[in-house]
Symmetry: C2
Subunit: 236 residues, 2 copies
Amino acid sequence: MTSRAIVLLSGGLDSATVLAMARAQGFETYALSMRYGQRHSSELDAARRVARALGAQRHEIIDLDLRPFGGSALTDDTLDVPVDGNSTGIPITYVPARNTIMLSVALGWAEAVGAYDLFFGANAVDYSGYPDCRPEFVAAYETLANIATKAGVEGQRIRVQAPIIAMSKAEIIRTGIGLGVDYGMTVSCYLADAEGRACGVCDSCRLRRAGFEAAGVADPTRYQTDQTDPAAGAKQ
Amino acid sequence: MTSRAIVLLSGGLDSATVLAMARAQGFETYALSMRYGQRHSSELDAARRVARALGAQRHEIIDLDLRPFGGSALTDDTLDVPVDGNSTGIPITYVPARNTIMLSVALGWAEAVGAYDLFFGANAVDYSGYPDCRPEFVAAYETLANIATKAGVEGQRIRVQAPIIAMSKAEIIRTGIGLGVDYGMTVSCYLADAEGRACGVCDSCRLRRAGFEAAGVADPTRYQTDQTDPAAGAKQ
C-alpha cells in the first residue's frame, strides 16, 4: 500500500515545493491548509490550485480563526505589515504558535488516516526569523508527536519532514522547477490582493524575488504594479 | 502586575478544578474552550457557566471543526460511544491529537497576551488511557513550547502546568470543593443531552460517579434517567 503523508500547504512557494517533493518520494499526499484569519486569503485559492496541479489525493482547508487573539500583523488589521525591508529580530508578521498549531492539526489528520509522515515547508536559511521555522523546533515537534499519539505509543514512528529547511530560496526554486512546479500558481505575498497579485515590497516578496534572481529563473510572480520601481508596490 | 495564565476549559469536572487552582495561585485566568465538532456540545455551555462562576478574566471558544478528519466516536456519528465499561487499550473516544491541538492554540493565545503558564487538566490516574494525558506528554509539550515561541527564544520560561495529573478523581473532587467549585455546573458525559444531563454509563460518567463515591461527596450530576438501573441511561 502506498504510504500516506500529510503536507502543510499554505499556497506559497515553499510549501508547493514540499508537496512536489513528497509526491516524488512516492507518498499519497493529504494537503492541509488553514484559514486562520490571514489578510492574504488569496493564498488559499493558490493552495487549491497547487494541490490539484501537483496531484494531492485530498486537500482540506480547516477553519481556525486566530483573530480573537491578535498579536500579529497578519491577523490584526490594526498592525501594519512592514514594507521597508528593515525589520530586525522576530517580525510583527509572526503569528503566535501558527506552525505549532498547524502541525498539531496535521498530526490529528495523520492519526485519523494512518499517515506517519508530516511534511512541512520550514526554512531556516532565507527566512523571516520565526522561532517555529528552526531545525530544533522540527526535532522537538517530532519528539512530541511520538509521545502524543496512539501511533507513537503503539510503536509506529512518526516523522516530521522538513526537506527544504537547509536550502536557500534559489535551491528551493531549482528543486521545484525540476519537479514541475509552476510557481506562477503560488502566492507568497503578505499583502496580496484578491486576485493573488503580490505587493513586491513586504519581506516575503523580497525573499521570493531575490530567490528567483539567485536561481537565474524568470520570476513568474504577478505583481500589483509595474515593478521597475519596487516602492510603487507598497500598499496599506 | 498579576501574571496571566491560559487555562484549557472543557466544561468537565477536571478542567473546572484546574481553573479554580490557577485562580487560587493568583493568576489572572484566560479560559480557552474549543468547538471541535464534539457530540456533547452542552459541555461548552457548561464551560461558559464555569468560567463566569470561577472568575475567569476572559473566556474564548475557538471553532476548529475536526469532523472532516473522522477517526473518533466523539466526532464521527458513524462510530458508537461505548457504554459497557469494558473497553481496553486506547478507546474509540480518543480524538486524534486533540490535547496537542488545544495546547497549541493555548500557546498562541499565551504569546499574544504575554502569558507564560498553560494550565491543563490532564489526569493519568482515573483516566481513559489517552496518550496525550500522560506526564511524559506534558513534559514534551513544555519542551516544545519553549523552542517554538518568541517568548521561549527570548529567554522567558513557558510552563505547562498539569496540577491534577497525579490525583485520583476523589482527590480532584475534594480539592475543587475546597476551592468552591460547584460540580453541578460541569458536564463530563460523552453523550450528554442538550440540557447537559448525563447518560450515566459511558466511560466518563463511570469515572466521575466513582469519584464522587470515593470522595464521600453527594454526586450533583443531573442524569437523563433514574440511575437506580444504570443501564437505563444508555442512549445512542
